[in-house]
């Protein structure tokens, strides 16, 4: 896999590089890394928020079933 931070961002976000504005190719390596880091951080934060919310919601499910339910939901 490419070491390009923008490619890694596209891969994680499941979008094509061609979806991004052309200026991303003008970013310096440091700027591209910074942008990708901020994106990865936002994805991680969104995932944590979601997991926390789903955990709260699953209090209505008996404890032994919570793991399998989370697996079914794909969290």
């Amino acid at each position: 896999m490419s070491n390009d931070p923008i490619d890694a961002m596209c891969h994680r976000g499941r979008f094509a590089r061609s979806d991004l504005p052309a200026f991303v190719d003008e970013l310096t390596p440091d700027e591209a890394t910074r942008l990708a880091e901020l994106f990865h951080r936002a994805v991680d934060r969104r995932k944590d928020e979601l997991e926390e919310s789903i955990d709260e919601g699953l209090t209505l499910v008996p404890r032994p079933l919570r793991g399998p339910v989370k697996k079914i939901l794909g969290v």
Partner: protein, 236 residues
């Protein structure tokens, strides 16, 4: 600070200063990047909400509403509601308090939830909008405006009396096509409040962004109400 950089920073939940290196790029290109980021963050977790929606189909509406309010956060519910059919969502609505709908509204995707928003009766929209306005949740109301029927926009915008709120709600509207109808339906008092707020709250850049998406007649109407200094700043 570039208005689009500020919006992108909100999407990424970072400080606008973290994105200083993007200031040299054009607003349209930054808007394209912001939309890609918004959809990527949303799409990545969409299967979870789709599965929750499938599970909710197995449960009658009154029980769904009760479980939703008691056990799930507005984040999960707003996103899951976006996945509901408009028919199901509109049947659930009367069973939910307005306060609760307002809690969930910031998390609904304005584009995908459009059929739901457009099916909502004005009797539900107005009290929910009042709550969101009172909370000064400009992003939520901006998104809400983008989903409404055109004939509902004047009713909602008529509720926003503070010029500072008008500017920020318009600035945060995801659909720039609604900005002209919003500007058209501003009362003379609201126009004066908007130009005063732009100066008082240093929202010149945000107002300039909004004016960039309205008709010449509406732009002129707002500029005519502004003092020379503000006109110069907005025109620059």
């Amino acid at each position: 600070m570039h208005a689009e950089v500020r919006k992108l920073a909100e999407e990424l939940a970072c400080d606008p200063e973290d994105l200083d290196f993007l200031m040299r790029f054009a607003a349209d290109d930054l808007a394209q990047l912001r939309r890609v980021v918004y959809h990527a963050l949303d799409e990545k977790f969409r299967p979870v909400f789709q599965r929750l929606e499938l599970a909710a189909r197995l449960v009658p509406n009154p029980i769904t509403a009760r479980i939703a309010m008691r056990h799930f956060s507005p984040l999960v519910l707003g996103r899951t509601a976006t996945e509901l059919s408009a028919d199901r969502a509109l049947k659930l609505l009367p069973q939910l308090p307005n306060e609760f709908i307002a809690d969930c509204s910031p998390f609904m995707d304005p584009v995908r939830a459009k059929p739901i928003m457009r099916g909502m009766p004005i009797e539900v929209i107005l009290p929910v909008a009042e709550i969101v306005i009172a909370r000064r949740d400009h992003v939520a109301l901006g998104r809400m405006l983008a989903g409404l029927l055109p004939e509902h926009i004047p009713h909602v915008i008529g509720l926003v009396q503070d010029g500072h709120d008008v500017i920020l709600i318009a600035f945060h509207s995801e659909d720039t096509d609604v900005l002209d109808p919003v500007a058209t339906h501003l009362s003379d008092e609201q126009v004066l409040a908007v130009v005063a707020a732009a100066v008082e709250h240093e929202l010149v850049e945000e107002l300039a962004y909004v004016l960039g998406h309205v008709s010449e007649a509406n732009r002129r109407r707002l500029l005519d109400a502004a003092h020379d200094d503000l006109v110069a700043a907005l025109s620059g």
